[in-house]
Amino acid sequence: MDTIYYLIQNTLPVAIPLLLVALGGMFSERSGVINIALEGIMLFGALFGCLSVYLIQGSSMDPQLILLFGMLVSAVAGIIYSFLLSFAAVTMKADQTITGTALNMLVPAAMLLFAKMYFNSDGITTNVDFYITEIPGLKDIPFLGRMFFQNTYITVYIGLLLLVISTIVFYKTKFGLRLRACGEHPQAADSVGINVYVMRYAGVSISGFLGGIGGFFYAVGVMDGNVNGHTGVAGFGFLALAVMIFGQWKPIKILFAALFFAFLRTLAYSIALIPFLHALNINQTFYKMLPYIATMVVLAFTSKKSRAPKAEGIPYDKGQR
């Protein structure tokens, strides 16, 4: 039983970055822009989030407030970085996949460059303890208290809150409807007076917002508040894309997909604690491969009935019909 609690407690902080980034990808793709740059956006957000934490960690602020501050910084950083994608993809009508790849390559290189020159290391190391051992009151709820309110990070609750907000914006607002229209049939959307360019900029910016926060939450929940250019976010941006596809571009399904992948990953890193898996004596690297192999298996089975937005990846040209 302890093992199950342990796995759940450790799965959630890993699932949240995946969830947020996949939601970001969903906003971008349902507006019609393929966002393969999520990996870069995450790392960019994580970099500036950690940098801001590094700069204010000396003050006597409460760790959770510092975290919230870092989150805001990373969100802004993510939005700014995503402008590079929307400018190229929407305004310049460039190939979205190539642009995204370039943006993914830029961040780790720039980060290593500056970290090596100014910090003499591969990244930024902070020493604020964001960990929450227990939440008074809620921790005593039988069963659930131990699962969700002990040994965790505040990122879990913020992440779930953002999921709720995203779902409402996506399905219950005029904006959400228009955004989705631009990803399915931009010409039709344009004909009823929706500015496709603006909606696509908005979609990519939201993905920058969520991607930046997701990156920072990865740094907090997975890397203990550190970030470095070599490992980056370890392919979480790409995994989030897989989560998004697995979740069929729908928020609630994305939540379950994120939990599934996070669970696999947590399992991979907790082999030593699970007696029967440990006894199998399989190389740990094999378990690290599992999330990626699972992605492929899932994609192989779901691809036939894929719900991909119809106009994604195609630059919108007013003159074309």
Binding site: A102, M105, A109, K116, F238, Y292, M296
Partner: protein, 396 residues
């Protein structure tokens, strides 16, 4: 802007020149390189103003002093560039060159260490093993794309990770290949290493020549064979190609297998090359990092406009500034500066063609001074020229 003053007869020539023979692709690449280098210079200026000029000079011309090294390091990215570019011709984005490269590396290493072969052919068999390894890793995304219609981008990204972890695991588990205390593979026996070309102060080896020959073969395949024609036709318009009776599925798989093979060869060439330390070879460190040469291949392919011949030159260019970047560390800069420059070059080359035609358009508009109606006509002519250029370049 001297072109502003040309006569109307010359203007026609100018238009023809810019609209043909891949000229606009060439200027687009130059534009992207220019912007990338400018960006790199700005970064250097921010990082260390006093050393920026000297450091930037190193980036630009430092590689010339070690041209043998430039070619040596150009070989692997030439191959990954071909891997990306060849798939591009069919409209497939092979972002999985890294995984294919790593697989090729592993297959070559495995044959090099574990198979007992006559000295004279051992290295050749290793190279072929690398080819097979890469082909295998290209085959999988091909199958997924052709039979299950899974986007090749996401598949190849996943297989980058799967391949990297798999190779790390297999190498760590092999006591002949792996030295745990040094966290790297052992040195390959001499007979397995690629024969050196004997250029002074350089380990330039036969792989560079093989690479160029392969690039030329690919050029012939693309331009002189039915398969190449079908491949390009599918790249231009998939539905039209299928309607014309071309076997799309077979071509997708075949393209990915060939592309994967190229990247695999790149990995084999990189790992089988003799290193700078006498009597040693290159080694592989299983540290769970995706091979960057696969991604550099994307830059190489884009700059070379996916043409095998163009890729030869762009590989040498990228390698040249990489060497320059290494030398810039003499002035306190880190070699990562070049990765920044390469990323920016890729970013701009994604829409350099468009910027290029915009620049030309602005030219003509100012020169002709015609009214709005005509300028919209020019716009469509420019677009036409662009697509015409793309087609003619293929044929050239």
């Amino acid at each position: 802007m001297s072109n502003n003053t040309v006569s109307s007869a010359r203007k026609f020539d100018f238009k023809r020149l810019t609209g043909s023979k891949g000229f606009s692709a060439f200027t687009a690449a130059l534009l992207a390189i220019f912007l990338g280098l400018i960006f790199g210079f700005i970064v250097m200026l921010i990082a260390s103003p006093e050393n920026s000029a000297a450091g930037f000079r190193m980036v630009l011309i430092g590689g010339l002093k070690r041209f043998g090294d430039v070619l040596y390091f150009a070989t692997p990215i030439l191959m990954t560039g071909l891997a990306v570019g060849f798939a591009f011709k069919m409209g497939l984005f092979n972002i999985g060159a890294s995984g294919q490269y790593t697989m090729g590396m592993f297959f070559a290493l495995y044959v090099g260490f574990m198979w007992d072969l006559p000295d004279s052919i051992h290295w050749l068999v290793c190279v072929l093993a690398g080819l097979v390894g890469g082909m295998l890793w290209g085959f999988i995304p091909g199958i997924f794309k052709a039979l299950l219609n899974v986007n090749e981008v996401i598949t190849s990204i996943m297989f980058n990770y799967i391949g990297m972890y798999l190779v790390d695991m297999l190498i760590q588990g092999n006591s002949v290949m792996y030295i745990p205390s040094k966290t790297r593979t052992a040195y390959l026996p001499d007979a397995v290493q690629l024969p050196s070309l004997g250029i002074k102060n350089s380990n330039l080896n036969i792989s560079f020549i093989i690479g160029i020959v392969i690039a030329i073969i690919l050029y012939v395949i693309l331009n002189k064979t039915t398969f190449g024609y079908e491949l390009k036709a599918t790249g231009y318009n998939k539905n039209a190609a299928i309607y014309a009776g071309m076997n799309g599925k077979r071509n997708i798989i075949l393209t990915m297998v060939i592309a994967g093979g190229m990247a695999g060869l790149g990995g084999a060439f990189a790992i089988l090359a003799p290193s700078t330390i006498a009597g040693s070879s290159m080694t592989y460190e299983p540290i769970n990092v995706i091979a960057p040469n696969g991604f550099n291949g994307i830059a190489v392919a884009l700059l070379g406009n996916s043409s095998p011949i163009g890729i030869i030159f762009s590989a040498i260019f990228i390698s040249h500034i990489q060497r320059g970047g290494t030398l810039a560390s003499l002035y306190g800069f880190k070699p990562e500066i070049i990765d920044v420059v390469i990323a920016v070059i890729i970013y701009f080359s994604a829409f350099a063609m468009l910027m290029n035609s915009t620049v030309i358009k602005v030219f003509k508009k100012r020169k002709k001074g015609r009214n709005q109606e005509n300028s919209s006509g020019i716009e469509s002519t420019a677009d036409l020229n662009k697509s015409k250029a793309a087609i003619e370049k293929e044929e050239a």
